[in-house]
């Protein structure tokens, strides 16, 4: 089974549709959209509404509906330099 979702780039507002298998993980979504948008190397997370998704979670665990929107957000790690 395939579910189609929309992923939004929080930094630019751009969106891309993505077809996901139930076995796909959140990490694979992050890597897929990061490559598509040629994101700078860095840490990113995915949110679904008010929830942050864990990297190892599979699509089948996420209760994602077709055409639901996820958002890729940078996870800032600076603070000293």
């Amino acid at each position: 089974m395939v579910v189609r979702v929309r992923v939004r780039n929080a930094e630019t507002g751009a969106t891309v549709d993505m077809e996901l298998e139930m076995e796909n993980t959140v990490e694979e979504i992050i890597e897929g959209v990061s490559a598509y948008w040629e994101k700078d190397p860095g840490a990113y997370v995915i949110r679904k509404g008010r929830r942050l998704l864990r990297g190892q979670q599979k699509v089948q665990e996420l209760d994602i509906q077709t055409n639901e929107e996820l958002e890729l957000i940078p996870d800032p790690e600076g603070g000293t330099k």
Binding site: I30, P41, A43, L52, G55, I73, D75, G78, G79, T80
Partner: protein, 264 residues
């Protein structure tokens, strides 16, 4: 018979206005032993806020010295510090005592990796004001196993995040990390076969986001120490859009900090 009062005496109390916040446990705040890890941009702001709020026992740890580009967002550093040879932690401790000479602020020059969970048990709360994943993971794991709440802050340009970790109730930092975080860490430590090279990329940073994130870290520390529920669980701040989102996170059943009772 009660002590006599005198006109204007409340204005002589440094923390009178803070005491008007009924939920704040000022006694607990003033007794708390706090460790601030990182004395750069976030660390400067956090220590300043802690002392102004009324914290009296603060240890500051940092391995670094000042460079001139720090001066744009470090309220406690001064022109000339970059050539003083003094560590960031000792400068922060020295300068913040000007704000409250009765506060006990100690500086430790070194890496957080030199401190284990046993030593962390002496603290009531820790603030992470760091700039790399490896140090965060160490502080996260050891504070969790020490049972000490940990409030982490991070910035990049106009974006920032804060996570409050209260063991054993909440998810920890590692629960929210994924391969992209570990790739960042791998890029920073490259092994040449003879030595480990530490690569520290320059990240965009400015004072307004730094101030917001450090302030939220200190406020979460006050909430936790005062017995209030900390934010659940991660705050993401976008300064350009002017938005703040509190996002929930689940404990990762595969996270080593939750699945093992002790650090090996």
């Amino acid at each position: 018979m009660a002590e006599p009062i005198r006109p204007g005496e409340r204005d002589d109390d440094r923390h009178d206005r803070t005491r008007l916040l009924s939920w704040v446990d000022m006694g607990r705040v003033q007794r708390a032993q706090v460790l601030v890890v990182g004395a750069g941009a976030l660390g400067n702001e956090a220590v300043k806020d802690l002392i102004l709020f009324g914290f009296r026992h603060v240890d500051v740890m940092d391995m670094d010295t000042v460079v001139r580009s720090n001066l744009s967002r470090c309220v406690l550093f001064r022109e000339g510090d970059q050539s003083s040879g003094k560590g960031k932690a000792s400068l922060v401790a020295e300068r913040v005592r000007e704000l409250d000479p009765t506060a006990e602020v100690n500086a430790f020059q070194g890496r957080i990796q030199s401190m284990g969970s046993e030593e962390m048990k002496g603290y009531d709360i820790m603030l992470g004001c760091l700039d790399n994943v490896a140090a965060r993971l160490h502080l996260n794991a050891n504070s969790y196993h020490a049972g000490v709440p940990y409030v982490d802050g991070g910035t990049n340009g106009f974006r920032g995040r804060v996570q409050a970790v209260v063991p054993p109730l909440t998810p920890c930092l590692q629960c929210g990390m994924n391969r992209s975080h570990f790739k960042v860490m791998e890029r920073r430590f490259s092994c040449t076969g003879q030595d480990t090279v530490f690569y520290q990329p320059k990240m965009a940073a400015e004072i307004t986001t730094t101030s917001v994130i450090a302030a939220v870290q200190v406020r979460e520390a006050v909430k936790i120490l005062s017995g209030r529920t900390a934010m659940e669980h991660v705050m993401h701040y976008d300064g350009l859009a002017g938005t703040t989102d509190i996002l929930s996170l689940d404990i990762d059943p595969g996270c080593p900090n939750h699945s093992s009772p002790k650090l090996s």
